[in-house]
């Protein structure tokens, strides 16, 4: 085991995949400036700075992916993806299909988001569900350095466009990463805590929120199970359904706003396929339908906190569906 931060885990995955496959390259705003180790090892042709122009960065990645390269692009902050929506959604996501499978788009898009840095709504917008809704794209949003490394490796090897969202607040969080970390398959959730009374489903930084809440609930004699989705598309439906079948209660927790968010999908999935298992209504704890504020206390208030998760679970334990 090695201890490293999420940012270092991303660089480690890039380095390993670039050693393994000469068609992998990375470019974006400040990539060659910030990832000096990669620049030194792989040279200026494979580690490139770009103009501050997200659209052409993403378009260049799509064109390169269609014709033999495996580009990784760093678009810095998730709201900047708005400038690259056409290239990501209309080109990378659709052109495999529209070409009848003639072309494929093996590319990875990196972007940071989330509260923790006070950068406000044009740098912080958890817009991952927009891309879940777009065909042809895969989306991951891990919570630990080990998962970032393993999922980055898989994302680079995948023949589809994969968006990797990195929670800003997790960037400098250290964690254990196995020396010989293997690629982690997309679409596999991680069971972070086993429990029998309630299922907490989350991803990114609110996984930690759920684990803190689970510890507090344990003191009350409530045994919470915590599932870290890691991958939002494909979604590990089986892991969610298996857990809800056991606990009969579900709270979905994420920082993105509620309407049409990932939590809505998880709740609908459980309503459609595990309704008979439910002993209480499904709850969602999410950010509000508001832009993310810069002010630190407001930014913190935007994100579901452990005490809110505890209160939600406690309400469910009382709210027993009549047999």
């Amino acid at each position: 085991m090695t201890t490293m931060t999420v940012n270092d885990a991303i660089s480690a995955a890039l380095a390993e995949e670039m050693r393994r496959d000469p068609t992998v390259l990375i470019f974006g705003e400040g990539v060659a400036t910030k990832r000096r180790d990669l620049l030194e090892e792989f040279g200026a042709a494979r580690v490139r700075n770009t103009p501050l122009a997200e659209g052409i960065i993403a378009g260049t990645a799509a064109g390169a992916a269609a014709t033999g390269l495996r580009p990784v692009i760093d678009l810095l902050f998730a709201p900047f993806l708005c400038y690259a929506m056409d290239e990501i959604v209309n080109s990378a996501g659709k052109l495999r299909y529209l070409s009848g499978g003639q072309f494929q788009f093996p590319m990875v898009v990196l972007a940071m988001t989330g509260a923790g840095w006070g950068v406000g709504a044009q740098h912080n917008h958890n817009n991952e569900s927009w891309f879940v809704h777009s065909p042809g794209l895969k989306i991951v949003m891990p919570s630990t350095p080990a998962d970032f490394k393993g999922l980055m490796k898989t994302a680079i090897r995948d023949d589809n466009p994969v968006l990797v969202f990195a929670d800003i607040a997790l960037g400098y969080t250290p964690g254990e990463v196995p020396e010989d970390a293997e690629a982690i398959p997309l679409g596999k959730a991680a069971l972070r805590r086993e429990g029998t009374d309630v299922t907490l489903v989350s991803y990114a930084k609110t996984v930690g929120t759920c684990l803190q809440a689970a510890d507090a609930l344990a003191a009350d004699g409530i045994d919470a199970e915590v599932i870290d989705l890691r991958s939002l598309k494909p979604l590990d439906e089986a892991a969610i359904l298996r857990s809800v079948a056991k606990t009969g209660r579900l709270v979905v927790v994420h920082e993105a706003s509620r309407l049409c968010g990932v939590g809505a999908e998880v709740a609908a999935l459980v309503a459609e396929k595990a309704f008979a298992s439910l002993r209480a209504p499904v709850l969602r704890l999410t950010g509000p339908d508001a832009p993310a504020p810069a002010s630190f206390p407001l930014e913190q208030a935007f994100v579901p906190q452990p005490d809110a998760v505890v209160a939600a679970v406690q309400s469910l334990m009382l709210d027993v569906v009549a047999a």
């Binding site: 103009p51 260049t60 064109g63 580009p71 056409d86 529209l98 009848g100």
Partner: protein, 334 residues
């Protein structure tokens, strides 16, 4: 007549031309095939057998002139008026018609329709119906040519409408900074969907913007395939020699409306008459007849061949089955 504008005087040096000069009679026949293909589409749509489509009637010269200057290694990205580029590249009109009609034997299995046709076997990476999408992806295709040490260059066809998109600036800028082997071909057809270029641009053309981005450029009569071909060969030679992009602006005119059917009620009649008089097909044909390179009998033989090709293409597309319902969700993911 070709006027070269260049930030780099070295680009003006004469260079060995490759491939061989365009045979004008072959160019005429190819333009006639493109015209016949688009007229067939318009007819099929009129009879309810194909979806409406964007044609490039009157713009056959840049398609034939540029594509004939490419080698088999070169790759093409184009836009929603791509039939000419595909047919100039040797696409099978039957498979193209089948695609437009949503049939299984189309180049994309019927999932593209007319607006997104790609054909890997021909090196046609993309038809983008998002105006400017071809500009956004062209840099990546150029990058892969360079990184993978492939010999080909990239030909990227777009219109004056796309030149008003931010991606035009972004694409040329990055191609210049990264030394990407891209021939940007602006088919300035004077129309941006239903709006005349003069309403949307203060400048008289597109090529003037290239120098500011560090890209060499030239302007050519886009209704003369031989002039376009010569300009394209010179531009491609410059790209191969300098490893830098080049912008070729072909001044031409869209003789039909934006999307069939279209009554063109918004088009200035005098302008239309002026450009009909410069229609590249009769123009080249008259020239060849005048020069004694084409007889009336030759022309009749070509017409018959084109007609037979389109009849066979239509029969092929008609006979092709629709895709099965199982195709609805195939090829979404690898």
């Amino acid at each position: 007549m070709t006027a070269f504008l260049s930030p780099d005087p070295a680009v003006l040096d004469p260079a060995p031309l490759d491939p061989a000069p365009l045979d004008p009679v072959a160019a005429l026949e190819r333009m006639m095939l493109i015209r016949a293909y688009e007229e067939t589409l318009i007819d099929l749509h009129g009879r309810g057998r194909a979806a409406g489509t964007c044609t490039a009637v009157g713009q056959e010269a840049p398609a034939v002139g540029v594509v004939s200057a490419l080698t088999a290694d070169d790759l093409i990205l184009t836009n929603h008026r791509s039939a000419g580029h595909l047919l100039a590249r040797g696409a099978d009109p039957g498979r193209m018609l089948a695609e437009v009609m949503g049939k299984r034997d189309g180049y994309c299995g019927g999932k593209s329709g007319s607006l997104h046709i790609s054909a890997k076997e021909l090196g046609v990476v993309l038809t983008s119906t998002i105006v400017g999408g071809e500009l956004a992806l062209a840099t990546g295709v150029g990058l892969s040519r360079t990184m993978l040490k492939q010999p080909g260059i990239v030909a990227c066809f777009f219109g004056d409408g796309a030149a008003c998109e931010g991606r035009f600036h972004e694409s040329l800028n990055l191609a210049a900074v990264w030394n990407l082997p891209i021939l940007y071909v602006c088919e300035n057809n004077q129309w941006q969907a239903f709006v005349h270029r003069q309403e949307t641009m203060a400048a008289d053309g597109i090529a003037g913007q290239a120098a500011a981005l560090g890209v060499a450029s030239a302007v050519v009569d886009g209704n003369d395939p031989l002039a376009v071909h010569d300009a394209a060969r010179t531009a491609i030679a410059a790209i191969r020699r300098t490893a830098k992009p080049f912008l070729l602006e072909a001044k031409t005119y869209r003789l039909r409306g934006h999307f069939e059917p279209d009554d063109q009620s918004y088009v200035d009649k005098a302008e239309l008459v002026h450009w009909r008089g410069r229609d590249p097909i009769p123009r080249l044909r008259d020239r060849l007849e005048r020069d004694g390179r084409l007889t009336a009998a030759d022309a009749a033989r070509i017409e018959a061949r084109v007609r037979a090709t389109m009849e066979a293409a239509t029969a092929f597309a008609d006979a092709s089955p629709y895709p099965g319902a199982d195709a609805l969700t195939t090829d979404v993911y690898a």
